[in-house]
């Protein structure tokens, strides 16, 4: 029996695979394709206190081995989430991670507080969304604000807190250290890299928001580098993501030092991507004769 269990901030996952926030809704739509019981955890779309309308369309554009999105965190608000999406998710034997967003610190805290007595296993705090005018990435690009928001969230949170970092920084290790100093229980990275695309015939940006966040295989080398840098820097566990589409991709992130991984954009090309990643990890471990996934986590750094 190969062990694929991992424990992150005291929460045990049956395997190290979750969904990247915003690419899997709250799991409902993908449940037609994927047995959610197979996933280590489901990470939800960003949830804010009030419902958010998001950005105007077009919200996405395809790029070479990647995509840009500027959804702008549209979501029905935490009440709908708690009353509709959470009961749905609780039908399944998987960990539930709620991705939290806000425009102000208070916004974040209100969501965290509302979720405090809910059956949520972990919170992921999105301080790295490049697609909203207020909040989002603004919190994630300076060490002071990263440390401060982490500390505040930790005061209110009953569940372990994962701080989600932005790759749009000079030195991601500094942000990781700031989050750790603020009391984060874990880190997740990377969110999207800010990019753009122009329609040369219309002479306008393809996205209504002008810029969007780049994700998919295109960003994988950058994501893997940052995950490795951060895993070497902090003591808290890291959830790695950015372009993971196969079991081999996931293994790269685990070897780089991630304790778990998330599958995002790949869900759009292949709705079974999450389970194929899980199977792929299993196959790799079996083929290489590795009995415990712990043996490969961070092995590149040893």
């Amino acid at each position: 029996m190969i062990n694929t269990k991992v424990t992150i901030a005291g929460v045990e996952w049956k395997n190290p695979v979750t969904t990247a926030s915003g690419t899997f809704g709250s799991g409902m739509e993908f449940a037609d394709f994927v047995d959610l019981n197979r996933l280590g955890a489901v990470t939800t779309k960003g949830v804010s206190y009030e419902p958010w309308t998001g950005n105007p369309v077009p919200r996405i554009a395809e790029t070479g081995s990647g995509m840009l999105n500027a959804i702008g965190l549209q979501n029905p608000g935490v009440e709908v989430f708690v009353n509709r999406d959470l009961p749905f998710l609780k039908q399944y034997d998987t960990r539930v991670i709620v991705n939290v967003c806000g425009k102000t610190t208070e916004d974040y805290l209100k969501v965290v507080e509302r979720l405090s007595d809910c059956a949520v296993d972990m919170l992921e705090i999105n301080i790295s969304c490049p697609n909203v005018k207020e909040g989002g990435i603004a919190f994630g690009q300076s060490t002071c604000s990263v440390e401060d928001i982490t500390r505040q969230v930790k005061k209110y949170a009953r569940q372990p807190v994962i701080m989600k970092l932005s790759p749009n920084v000079t030195d991601i290790r500094e942000m990781a250290k700031a989050a750790e100093a603020g009391g984060a229980d874990a880190l997740s990275l990377i969110n999207t890299l800010t990019g753009t695309k122009i329609d040369i015939y219309k002479r306008k940006f393809v996205l209504a928001n002008e810029t969007g966040g780049l994700s998919g295989p295109a960003v994988k080398p950058v994501a893997l580098r940052m995950v490795n840098q951060v895993a070497r820097t902090v003591k808290i566990p890291v959830i790695g993501m950015g372009g993971i589409a196969t079991g081999e991709d996931a293994i790269e992130f685990l070897m780089a030092g991630a304790t778990a991984v998330a599958v995002g954009t790949a869900n759009f090309r292949n709705p079974l991507a999450t389970v194929e990643v899980i199977d792929g990890i299993q196959d790799f471990l079996a083929k290489e004769g590795i009995a415990d996934i712990q043996d490969i986590i961070g092995c590149i750094n040893r």
Partner: protein, 253 residues
């Protein structure tokens, strides 16, 4: 329930410059498909991540196969156009809601590459109907509509039917109906919406937007709505899930 799978190509022909007709063999999808629904088509080239939404143009009566008619608009559709009989293509579907049956005397309006989905609708609607098809210049598929109702054409250059757009064709031919079904470019849909409002009739419009998931999970493909929709709890509904067909008065174009 929508499925994702590899489907086999039964045939592919070019109908007009850049317009292709492809028949796919698939019991599971064809067996449950309805007019106005669409498929997501996936590219072979690994650098093209996102599915291409293409409407269902025809469903074989015995539910064994379905037809797609599409225009080569970029690299993805160009790739599809090179596939041949016997090749396979990764598809997901059927997706979306499709057109509702109302029983009322209907005007079916298709504009450009919005024409294909009206064919299955024309076949399956069990009511009196007129069919209005608008083209820029070169026409396609119009003959296949003839068994199902009176067909009126418009072309921008006047080379066939009325010179002008579909609304011009409706007015000049005094086409009448109690309900409208339409698919086509947004400016056309705006015209249809205005026309329907003017005549106090219901119009069902099939909308388009860039999609990433095609199944309602990513919120890429929204359109502004008059009312808050039950799912999103804001005035921005998912075209791939709650649509692509909406009552004209419910949506902002």
């Amino acid at each position: 329930m929508a499925v994702q799978k590899k489907a086999q190509i039964i045939s592919q022909v070019q109908l007009a410059p850049g317009i292709f007709s492809m028949w796919l063999k698939d019991l599971e999808i064809a067996g449950q498909a309805k007019p106005g629904q669409f498929l997501s088509l996936y590219c072979y080239s690994e650098d093209r991540l996102l599915p291409r939404p293409i409407s269902i143009c025809e469903i074989k009566e015995d539910g064994t196969s379905l037809r797609l008619v599409y225009r080569v608009a970029g690299k993805g559709t160009e790739e599809f156009s090179r596939l041949k009989e016997g090749d396979t293509i990764q598809v997901m579907g059927p997706l979306g809601n499709g057109f509702p049956e109302t029983g009322a005397k209907a005007i079916l309006i298709g504009g450009g590459i919005g024409i294909p989905p009206m064919l299955e609708l024309a076949k399956s609607l069990d009511c009196e109907k007129s069919i209005v098809l608008g083209y820029r210049d070169i026409t396609f598929l119009e003959k296949e509509f003839q068994p199902y109702g009176q067909v009126y054409l418009s072309t921008e250059d006047g080379s066939a039917g009325v010179k002008g757009n579909v609304i011009d064709a409706i007015r000049q031919n005094a086409v009448e109906g109690e309900v409208i079904y339409a698919c086509g470019p947004t400016p056309m849909l705006r015209g249809v919406k205005a026309y329907a409002a003017e005549h106090g009739i219901t119009a069902w419009l099939s909308l388009e937007e860039r999609m990433a998931c095609g199944i309602g999970a990513c919120l890429a493909c929204v359109c502004k709505t008059r009312n808050k929709d039950h799912h999103t709890n804001v005035n921005n509904t998912r075209i791939c899930k709650e649509g692509p067909v909406f009552k004209a008065e419910e949506v902002e174009l």
